[in-house]
């Protein structure tokens, strides 16, 4: 697993090894018919590596949502470059998709919770055999299971926010972009979000979160970049991933039988090459799951605690003096 990259603005050119999201000298100006053009972003640069959780904080109107819309490929920058895995965001999104929580979250009000998540799972490319597991797991993880039959128009505030998070994680995406997930969130939901971020971080996702709540953002991210009036006021200082971040997460490699993983571990995420990251409450749960997997016909190659990867990574960074 990769750990957090070094902080600070990205260079003017070239992709950084391991960087998933990279913004370089990005500016965005909105034309206005009635007034002078509005400069929403001014020369913003940063990068988010795989396995890193980056925060963007700033007051209302600072340019946070514009920044995320650019990363999601919904807006094009007026100048500068944005790359996700080395390609332009819109192309990346159409190729792989991203987990995106926009604010406000708008979906047809007549859809019911489980129906909406199923539709979005289908559009996200979740395979038919896994769709039900994925939707149920997302609803349970975000505390929406009891609301599964409710129409979206009846969901307000915190419940709507949880739906936004559920639709973002219902599929397995490498890039996760959350706009103001803390705004209006209850204490209970905040706990869920913290757990969710810890789980997703362990799976090598690049996570970008905006919030006005700098203090909370600092607790749940590796580093927080402050922006105001579209300019970077303070580049983020990294907090490296620790074994505690990935406690309870194991990497399972199979020879065959990968199609049974989601049935046994509903929140598992594929890491590629027949390897899956799974989170379990304790070793007994892990062994029960593995036994179930074997009984379903899977052939196991290896099981590794995820924190071993973090330890190895940290050791390597120390050795090169980072």
């Amino acid at each position: 697993m990769s750990t957090a990259s070094d902080a600070g603005p990205a260079g003017a050119g070239g992709s950084v090894a391991g960087a998933v999201i990279e913004l370089s000298h990005v500016s965005k100006t909105f034309a206005s018919r009635s007034a002078s053009p509005v400069r929403a972003l001014d020369d913003v640069s940063f990068r988010v590596a795989a396995g890193e959780v980056a925060g963007i904080s700033g007051p209302v109107g600072a340019g946070k949502s514009t920044l995320l819309a650019i990363v999601a490929g919904h807006l094009r920058p007026s100048s500068g470059s944005v790359r996700i895995d080395g390609i332009e965001p819109r192309r990346f999104v159409e190729r792989e998709g991203i987990a995106y929580l926009p604010r406000p979250l708008t979906l047809p009000g007549g859809w019911r919770v489980s129906d909406a998540l199923t539709r979005l799972a289908v559009l996200s490319g979740v395979r038919p055999a896994y769709t039900k597991h994925r939707v149920e797991a997302a609803m349970r993880e975000l505390g929406l299971y009891d609301d599964r039959g409710r129409r979206l128009r009846s969901l307000k505030g915190d419940a709507r926010l949880r739906l936004g998070l559920a639709q973002a994680i219902v599929a397995d995406h490498r890039v996760i972009v959350l706009d103001e997930p803390l705004d209006g969130m209850s204490a209970e939901s905040l706990d869920r979000l913290r757990e969710l971020i810890v789980r997703l971080r362990a799976f090598d996702r690049a996570i970008l979160i905006t919030s006005r709540d700098t203090a909370e953002l600092q607790r749940i991210t590796d580093r927080v970049t402050l922006i105001d009036h579209g300019r970077t006021r303070r580049p983020g200082v990294p907090r490296r991933a620790t074994p505690a971040d990935v406690e309870g997460v194991f990497h399972i490699t199979l020879h065959h039988g990968g199609e049974h993983v989601l049935a046994v571990f509903p929140t598992a995420i594929s890491l590629g090459r027949s390897t899956y990251a799974v989170r379990v409450s304790d070793l007994a749960a892990l062994n029960r799951g593995l036994r179930d997997l074997l009984e379903r016909g899977a052939l196991l190659v290896s099981v590794t605690p995820a924190h071993a990867a973090v330890d190895a990574s940290a050791l390597a960074m120390n050795e090169v003096g980072l």
């Binding site: 999601a72 159409e94 995106y100 926009p102 708008t106 979740v126 397995d172 995406h173």
Partner: protein, 250 residues
């Protein structure tokens, strides 16, 4: 992870029948009533025992219904295909998935068109059983052609403005009006001007001309169908190009 857009077509078809079928039928009924009132058609005209004249009136009444449904279904099938999503902001959630917006909207348009043709053909079958025989193949063909022209134009307009419906009604009515007055204009030597104007406008008058032949199951001259079909196809291609250029509201 590529999105399973083809699998999503089932949801789009369900959405059509759940959300658009009833408004289409209601609006078609109202338009047909207005047209019938304007032409002085009364319920007694629908008595099939009234001889050849009565049968002719029944056939003409059905053609009125068909015309109303074809226009309304085309307009409603394409309703907000793009502009509604943009206005409500649904596009931001949908297109964070690994799907192509052009394919998503085009598939939605095609699926809604299929829904409209099925709905109209089923309605025609009910009419055929209850009132008077009609050509179901002709009805389906006419609805498909009308959907291609009216729906295609509505699809194009919905990519550029949220007020597509008044503009749609205006340009279709303008074409029928120009066609209506082309004869007198030709007589005083203004024919080329009217012809040029009609080339730019959607050929709604061709649909009007073809309606009776389709509804009665008569042979159709492919050359007569080519103009509205080509116009509709051009609108769809232009709409796809516009969506590709600007997939989102902002």
């Amino acid at each position: 992870m590529k999105g399973r857009l083809t699998a999503y077509a089932g949801y789009q078809l369900r959405d059509y029948f759940v959300m658009r079928a009833l408004p289409t039928l209601l609006a078609s009924g109202l338009v047909a009533l207005a047209l019938a009132a304007a032409r002085g058609v009364t319920p007694s005209d629908l008595d099939p025992t009234g001889g050849l004249d009565a049968r002719d009136r029944i056939q003409q009444t059905f053609e009125l219904l068909l015309a109303a449904f074809a226009f309304v279904a085309g307009a409603v099938a394409a309703h907000g295909v793009v502009s509604h999503h943009r206005r409500r902001g649904y596009d931001r959630v949908l297109f964070s998935r690994a799907i192509n917006p052009v394919r998503y909207y085009t598939q939605g348009f095609v699926v809604a068109g299929v829904g409209a043709v099925v709905l109209g053909t089923v309605g025609a079958e009910i009419y055929a059983v209850a009132v008077h025989p009609v050509s179901l193949a002709g009805v389906a063909g006419y609805l498909a052609l009308a959907w291609l022209l009216v729906g295609g134009l509505a699809f194009l307009l919905s990519t550029v403005t949220a007020f597509y419906l008044p503009i749609l009604c205006l340009v279709l009515a303008a074409d029928v009006a120009v066609d209506h007055f082309t004869g007198p204009l030709s007589a005083v030597g203004a024919g080329p001007v009217a012809a040029a104007v009609q080339l730019v406008l959607p050929p709604a008058h061709v649909l009007v001309t073809l309606r009776a032949a389709f509804a009665r199951g008569l042979p159709i001259d492919p050359r007569a169908v080519a103009w509205p079909a080509a116009f509709g196809a051009a609108c769809i291609v232009a709409a796809m190009a516009l969506v590709r250029r600007r997939p989102f509201r902002s």
